[in-house]
């Protein structure tokens, strides 16, 4: 069940996107996600979909990975779009019943919400599929650095982030094992009503918390034993390198931004 989630997984590869500096990738992904909201007419949407298709092709990964990444979220997207469709007043009213109505503005909003969601999720999936979790943590640390001025604990946050990312698969494994052990003792996780299912989670959650706490304790001891005294004043093992490809990426995204603005005003 948990294993089937592609969202947030990293698939190793050698494409240009895989090799980009993680700072550039994080920043540009965020930027691209923000400028998705510049889309307004069919021209901008076509342009963005061609762009995303190009990016997918550049990753060198199978299209199936991306489709599977969107799979679990498609109901959420459809749900949001349908709400927009039925509750947006304005424009020409085609049909209405009580508070529900079908208007031209509603249809337009629903379509654009659907398409924007699709674009955003695909772009986030491109980021996570091509960037190793630790590289993301490094990128976030680099981006948080300016916050040092306001005494934000950058090193600690980065450490927490990389420890958390490191233990996500371990905790997932442990959760699966405990789930299996409790199933073997007769717990049914996928059966019965809401109350029964919620109660079935207790024998899973308590051992998981207990395990996490004792693991944290052991990890802290092991870190102290290896001379960790806090985040400041440490040197770095993984040093990020900014290459010409990264500069190129920044320039291309700026061009994309300009093209989007131009297309937006063409109609």
């Amino acid at each position: 069940m948990l294993e089937q989630l592609t969202l947030g997984r990293y698939v190793p590869g050698q494409s240009i996107l895989h090799r980009l500096d993680s700072r550039a990738k994080l920043l540009l992904s965020l930027y691209l996600i923000v400028i998705v909201f510049l889309t307004s007419n069919w021209l901008t949407y076509v342009f963005m979909f061609i762009l995303v298709g190009g990016l997918i092709a550049m990753t060198g990964l199978k299209v199936g990975y991306f489709i599977r990444g969107i799979g679990p979220l498609i109901w959420l997207i459809v749900f949001t779009a349908v709400l927009q469709l039925l509750f947006t007043p304005g424009g020409h009213v085609y049909w209405h019943w009580g508070v529900l109505m079908l208007t031209s503005t509603g249809i337009a909003t629903a379509v654009s919400v659907f398409l924007r969601f699709l674009l955003i999720i695909t772009m986030a999936t491109i980021l996570t599929l091509t960037t190793a979790p630790l590289a993301i943590a490094d990128g976030v640390e680099a981006m948080l650095k300016p916050l040092r001025i306001v005494h934000f604990p950058v090193a600690q946050t980065a450490l927490m982030l990389s420890v958390a990312l490191r233990f996500v698969p371990t905790l997932l494994d442990e959760a699966t094992t405990i789930m299996n052990a409790q199933r073997a003792r007769g717990v049914e996780f996928n059966n019965g009503g809401l109350i029964k299912r919620l109660r079935a989670i207790v024998p899973l959650l308590i051992p998981l918390f207990v395990g996490a706490i004792s693991r944290a304790d052991e990890l802290a001891t092991a870190m102290e034993a290896r001379g960790y005294q806090g985040g400041d004043g440490r040197t770095k093992y993984r040093v990020l390198h900014w290459r010409s490809a990264d500069t190129m990426a920044v320039i291309s995204v700026l061009i994309i931004n300009i093209v989007l603005v131009v297309f937006r005003h063409l109609n």
Binding site: E3, T6, T177, A181, Q182, G186, N191, P207
Partner: protein, 290 residues
């Protein structure tokens, strides 16, 4: 009745980029009341194999028959509850599955899930606690206050309390001290003999294979490489080395003795077998007789 694997294949996360083979065409028979040891290097599919025994994993193709239960890829989870009770499963480091407020409640958790009423479940729990050698005064304590060894016993009692007919043990003695290890293995041996439980033991301890098992299965890359009596498995030393397996301590000592001129007509696996065969040879070697 017995346990049979009939052309069982298993793939993890099938039809996904992360698909990985777990089992490849496994054919196996474990007779009723047998004590089977499953050995093989790490990642050879041992744990995957045993999780098929109580339906936690279902074969991707092929069929598993456990006494009256038949398990195929289409078996619905709803029909597995009886199988869960029939086959008791002790996972690696089972102390990680404890959760209830008191030891006795945690042990009674299984029987309660399988539909026994509160009183019966409590009696079954007390009985199981006795079987694993837990002192009476810990029953009302929190399982998280106990020592690691005692927590392991509570967890095993929690499996035994449902009175399974097949007991699957995935490295039950890993991380225990030598004495605790021996006690625990003897407890399983006793259950096996007194209640004719079918025991399936996954282990890296070749001494346990030699001392307790009447059948051994060697796994490698998801396949059954060899199955048979421990004697036949260990009789081909070169093959055993090739599989990155080890020998029982007594056998290793016997190899050293062989280099010093002793000969054994049957490869000794246990201390007893070694001692017996040495007793026959020693008087002849020093020339004085008994």
């Amino acid at each position: 009745m017995a346990i049979t694997f009939d052309h069982v294949n298993f793939t993890y996360q099938p039809n996904s980029p992360f698909a990985a083979t777990g089992l490849k065409d496994v054919n196996l028979t474990l007779p009723d009341g047998s004590f089977t040891a499953i050995i093989g290097h790490t990642g050879s599919g041992k744990s995957t194999l045993v999780q098929h025994l109580n339906g936690l994993l279902k074969p991707t193709s092929g069929q598993v028959q456990v006494d009256d239960f038949t398990l195929t890829s289409t078996t619905s989870n709803r029909h597995l509850k009886d199988l869960h009770q029939h086959v008791g499963m002790v996972f690696q480091f089972p102390e990680n599955q404890l959760f209830d407020q008191t030891v006795v409640k945690d042990i009674a958790f299984g029987p309660l899930n399988f539909g026994f009423d509160e009183n019966t479940a409590h009696d079954m729990a007390v009985q199981a606690a006795k079987t694993v050698g837990l002192p009476d005064n810990v029953l009302e304590r929190s399982p998280f206050e106990l020592s690691g060894g005692q927590m392991r016993r509570v967890a095993i009692a929690g499996v035994l309390a449902s009175q399974p007919r097949v007991l699957v043990l995935d490295e039950p003695t890993a991380g225990l001290d030598p004495l605790g290890r021996e006690h625990m293995m003897q407890m399983f041996e006793q259950l096996h003999e007194e209640q004719q439980l079918t025991v399936v033991l996954v282990t890296h301890q070749m001494d346990d294979v030699a001392d307790y098992a009447d059948q051994a299965v060697v796994m490698g890359h998801g396949e059954v490489l060899k199955a048979g009596a421990p004697q036949t498995i260990f009789n081909d030393p070169q093959w055993v080395y090739d599989q990155q397996l080890d020998f029982p301590t007594a056998t290793k000592f016997a190899f050293q003795l062989q280099q010093k001129g002793f000969s054994f007509n049957q490869l000794p696996l246990t201390e007893q077998q070694l001692a017996d065969q040495l007793a026959d040879q020693l008087p002849a070697m020093d020339g004085k007789g008994r």
